[in-house]
Symmetry: C2
Subunit: 338 residues, 2 copies
Amino acid sequence: MAEKSSSIVPAPFSKDLCPKMPREDGEAVRNNSYSGVSASTVTVKMEDSKEPDDPAHPKLPGWFSEYSPLWPGQAHFIEVEKILFQGKSKYQNMMVFQSLAYGKVSVLDGAIQLTEKDEFAYQEMITHLPLCSIPNPKKVLLIGGGDGGILREISRHSSVEQIDICEIDPMVIDVYKEFFPDIAVGYEDPRVILHIGDGIAFLKAVPGGPAHNLFETPFFELVANALRPGGVMCIQAESLWFHSLMVQDLVASLRRTFKGSVNYAWSIVPTYQSGVIGFMLCSTAGPPVNFKHPINLIDSNDSYGAARGPLKFYNSEVHSAAFCLPTFTKRGIDSIAE
Amino acid sequence: MAEKSSSIVPAPFSKDLCPKMPREDGEAVRNNSYSGVSASTVTVKMEDSKEPDDPAHPKLPGWFSEYSPLWPGQAHFIEVEKILFQGKSKYQNMMVFQSLAYGKVSVLDGAIQLTEKDEFAYQEMITHLPLCSIPNPKKVLLIGGGDGGILREISRHSSVEQIDICEIDPMVIDVYKEFFPDIAVGYEDPRVILHIGDGIAFLKAVPGGPAHNLFETPFFELVANALRPGGVMCIQAESLWFHSLMVQDLVASLRRTFKGSVNYAWSIVPTYQSGVIGFMLCSTAGPPVNFKHPINLIDSNDSYGAARGPLKFYNSEVHSAAFCLPTFTKRGIDSIAE
């Protein structure tokens, strides 16, 4: 765990909260060090920090509604056919329900995490955008991503020798294994090492890290320290339809820490607000990484690893297209000094 | 009007109904013949054909909710700050309301047509995908698109000499001119000729058209007949997240009629169901058209025509990226014999 990784593929931050991670205060959800790091931020909230329901959040009996104060005045409603699970850990509330529109849906603290219908779009892109951008990824760290879907996707890469995952909440893992076996199948890969605990603590165990101990910036510094030269990180970032200033702030912050490439990419997931999800891809100083042109192709891989079938969303064309930005987004990001 | 057009850019079909146009029975909304045809299907419904409200459609006081029986079990809710217009023509009901989330929103028969926040994404892509794919478009026909936004975008093309628009419902034009002046500004281009009437009748006036008179297929035959060799048509198609079989049927149908290129492209519009909208681009036999690689660049155009500012969404990179399809969509379309 103390070795330098060759790439880092961070898994999804809670999708509507990623860049600022406001609900993660005092919380885990961090990275580790490998040849790739995928940082998936689990939505974590302390028991005593529950906010009262937002009175602006519209609700209807028999329907689940997702509402984000980040883009107020709208909500996505999904009809609930049957509630399959409701539970609470020391970190969060979790619910799983069956829906006509999206199959099974998982929810953490009121925020949709994934659905059976569209999970592959997210899991494939957050995994293969970074791992197909470097030759022969060997060690990958996943922070969060307890559902196992990113593990399933990493598993398609035969060059990978070790996959560490830090998930703080064992309830999450158990529930996905019970209700989403085709996603949690990622845990069946023998290269996976599961660490139940705080990803930040995990990252801090990597020697040579920064001495200071701040909240936000240090996460990225810890990741950068944990990566080998030319190693890569991918984290979930906000939709380009959201306040683009937050994307710009994130890009500026990452450019201070990562001395290689820093790029914003986007993809589509209909159950995420606005139907779009963003990603930040970063590499450390070392062998240059051109995220826009994948060099480690897996399109026609016929070794699926723990995954039980071929890719559904990702291919090399979609990879490059994910970095083509609408003019208004491009202008916002280009306005930041390189 | 009887001359052959060099390209055809069809404007938006009612977004959730495009390929089958079920609500357009006995209705107008068709194409014409020019160097480009943009066919925008207006949602038109006869007074006596109003369906009773779908009981599955969830509703809340103070909120507008859009619900489609094409993808049941979900709905997008937008909070209404103020209703600005409600009216009824012989064709349809129209509403305009102010919202916090999207600014002004226009609705025809319960279906969102456009919002101030995201209209540019749709208008720019449906216009420039076809018109930037051919050299020097001269005559363009728009069917529907009474809001004027596609006219505004066509107006950026200095090679265009004539822009015909067929809009059946004058109420639509009047309302957009009053409440959406930055969109209806397209009518100010002196090249625009407005035809209040049925686009099908307009297309039928083009000589040399097919003799038979069926409902669905003939529309495309009339368009193909109206186009010059190597002329292009663009119509709105369904989101790739919808039943992909319908896209496949549409592709198969278009390939029977258009002897040049037939391609599916997609873009993002957060107020459209699933956040994604599709387009079909077709060309007639003649000079080959490669839709994936724009040759008539307008990215750095500094002549905006009737538009009052630069492009916000479209650029040449986004143009090519729009044709990069997720693997599951690609498989569905590739399964159709070329």
